[in-house]
Symmetry: C2
Subunit: 227 residues, 2 copies
């Protein structure tokens, strides 16, 4: 398979390109609108056809490139049914999957950061969006977030994967690019080391995080696919 990790510095967002070497079909996970020229250049350079753009959730910190990519490449916009984003093309639910050549991209519903968060599993990798981050997790105080739900999502849907599964998060603020399920189960400072659900809820309820700086622009834009 062809794999590439893009980084958007303003919101520290990771975008992932996965493509089939056989069919040259590609998907982008969590593309950012300001980076479309980079994606286009990569696709052209590697002779790839973009067939789907997937969002792990409705982002509050950057604007999705979904609509821009659809207009430019004719790809389909994919996100969870609970997102309420009516401009999507394919609305997945837990267990849905999309095939791209020899790659099967499986959706696992992982709500808690938002009510529509989905992680995507393919070939020993999991793209966790803002559910599980490296040594952290998404905040739970906006967009129908819920710490108890997030705890269950991470434990049941992500930590149930094999320990050597590579974890690719939606963001990292310290330059780390990936982790593993085993590493996060052991060492994640919010969820690892056998932390209980009650402890996690208390921790999340006392984070006292600032109001997200782009949420008032990003959320309305993302509800219309970044138009």
């Amino acid at each position: 398979m062809i794999f590439h990790q893009f980084f958007e510095a303003d919101s520290s967002t990771y975008t992932y390109l996965l493509a089939s070497e056989q069919t040259r079909e590609a998907v982008l996970i969590d593309p950012v609108i300001s980076e479309v020229e980079q994606y286009a250049a990569f696709l052209e350079q590697h002779d790839l056809q973009l067939v789907y753009s997937l969002d792990t959730h409705v982002h509050a910190d950057h604007i999705t490139a979904a609509n821009e990519l659809r207009t430019r490449f004719g790809c389909k916009t994919v996100l969870h049914r609970n997102s309420g984003v009516v401009c999507g093309d394919i609305f997945i639910t837990d267990g849905s999957a999309i095939r791209v050549g020899e790659l099967l991209i499986e959706a696992r519903y992982t709500p808690g950061h938002t009510n529509a968060c989905t992680s995507y599993v393919v070939n020993g990798m999991v793209f966790t969006g803002d559910a599980l981050l490296i040594d952290g997790c998404g905040r739970t105080d906006f967009q129908e977030g819920n710490p108890a739900t997030l705890y269950d999502s991470i434990h049941l849907q992500i930590f149930s994967l094999p320990d050597d599964t590579l974890v690719y998060p939606g963001h990292d603020y310290k330059g780390r690019v990936s982790s593993t399920v085993g590493q996060e189960k052991r060492n994640n400072s919010r969820l690892g080391q056998g932390r209980t659900k009650a402890e996690f809820i208390t921790l999340m309820q006392n984070l006292k995080l600032p109001y997200p700086k782009h949420i008032d622009v990003a959320l309305p834009a993302n509800k219309v696919c970044g138009k």
Copy 2:
């Protein structure tokens, strides 16, 4: 919306075309391989682009046109994840949905005839495949069929729709083209008139139906999308 019901006489199969008047995008539900020229003529005549072919399940009585349509029109093949049909493009689960212009096509998982049966709901219509038929239902003695499961699927997923919802089945052997949810709740001779689950199971277990005449050809072919 644009709507057309096709009939394939050998297996008495109904195929449905739904299309957006705005975008001219179309889907076919349960297309039959022998009828591809008819679909192509209709699409051309109405200036439509086929974007998805949907199967309600892995059929045992006819061969799907999924692969033929994909090759010819570049559409995506859609069916339930449980089908085990690895050549599909989009594997839906309960609650998944696909948007085609102004049409939202919602999947409701309705197993019991097979373990991968899905009904599609759009604009006050439900396409029930072989789960609910007019004054009948699909058999439950092959392909992981189960009468108790089918009873629950029909009651919870189809009879819970408004009574005036139009029912479009996967087959009819007596020339009837549609029914309504209310009509089937009242009068379906296997499921209507308050028939209990226990009564339904006994009835289905005593049907003594003949071995399906095309199953040994159709099933292997449909597991590879009708190639």
